[in-house]
Symmetry: C2
Subunit: 216 residues, 2 copies
């Protein structure tokens, strides 16, 4: 096995799955796109699903680790929310193809992989929900339903994978700040002097989880 070949195969899978959808992509097409023979491809995976799971893990594992670290570094709910939103947007805006696949192709997984990915997603969502719940308990956030607000925050931040492009007019770090500001609005974050904006929150630039890459 060859690491460069593996990388070409991964890139081909990200490009094809994101453009056409997992089910529309054939094994031969994957091999052609990666510049390898179909028979060689089976040295690197047992089936297409392996590549899909690999893409999903490559997004979810670093996100989960970084989220746990970020929550350890900040105690204030506004700071925690800003940190989570900005790292999530950094990854989804910076790697819109693999995050789009990760976000939309859970339905294409078999039961075993679906269960594994479900656990990763549930753990990650629980971290976000904890921040919202603590903010509400502290009287800093005001939402009627913690679970629905959390789903809304994740939907909002994940959505950038569907429309943001690195070569567009908005820089990625700027997008992170704009989305964090929308998130603070969504939960009606309030300090002693009124509504909290992104600029009021003392969190440095977005945690740069995974380097941005338009091919990924």
């Amino acid at each position: 096995m060859n690491e460069q070949t593996r990388e070409r195969l991964r890139l081909a899978a990200v490009e094809l799955f994101s453009r056409k959808g997992f089910h529309a992509v054939g094994i031969r097409e994957l091999a052609d796109h990666a510049g390898i023979r179909t028979a060689t491809l089976y040295n690197y995976m047992s089936g297409k699903e392996d590549l899909l799971v690999d893409i999903m893990r490559s997004v979810m594992d670093p996100l989960g680790d970084a989220a746990r670290e970020a929550l350890g570094e900040h105690a204030d709910p506004c700071e925690q929310l800003v940190a989570l939103v900005e790292m999530h947007v950094w990854v989804h805006g910076g790697r819109h193809r693999s995050t789009l696949v990760s976000d939309t192709e859970v339905r294409s997984l078999g039961p075993v992989a679906r269960k594994e990915m479900g656990i990763l997603r549930d753990d990650y969502e629980r971290l976000w929900r904890g921040v919202v719940a603590r903010g509400v308990a502290a009287g800093v956030f005001e939402v009627d339903d913690v679970a629905i607000a959390t789903t809304g925050l994740l939907t909002l931040a994940t959505g950038v994978a569907h429309w943001y492009r690195l070569d567009g007019p908005v820089r990625l770090a700027e997008l992170c700040a704009l989305q964090a500001d929308l998130a603070l609005g969504l939960v009606r974050a309030r300090g002693t002097s009124g509504p909290v904006r992104r600029a009021d929150v003392h969190v440095g630039p977005p945690r740069q989880v995974l380097s941005p890459d338009p091919a990924l």
Copy 2:
């Protein structure tokens, strides 16, 4: 041609496309699912894309019409935003399958249909952006970037198709109000006495565009 057969075919397409993705569904599978012969199917369409375009139009046309009517009935930006969010959530929560297909399968359209659907979507998004821009101009909303806030609002309201189910614990009308409240938060809607909540906005129950149907 037979209207009942057409309806069975439409239902089969919504169910299969939403569960497996457009490209994963074969013509024979569609015919089997609708209980008709493959040859008969071609009396009703020239190809799979016809069914996809039909599903998209069935969502986008009523939404666009209802949005224009709603904006004609209300002048206040908070009322307009609540009306738009609630009718959008009513449709996306009430018909999660066809809205999911409409939301995720634009990539599967050929150039002609993609252009037609693009125009419908752009027109619809323009209505939303107008509300946000008027709210900002009136000093009622506070957002840094009108386009990004509008995309955020649409992402948030469309997202319910991905997770909300009619047979779950939250009633659809309640979901509409909860999502409208999040939307007012996102744009930091403010009245003379502080932040505006859904309960402060004098708009009746959600406009019931398209009847809810778990099969659609």
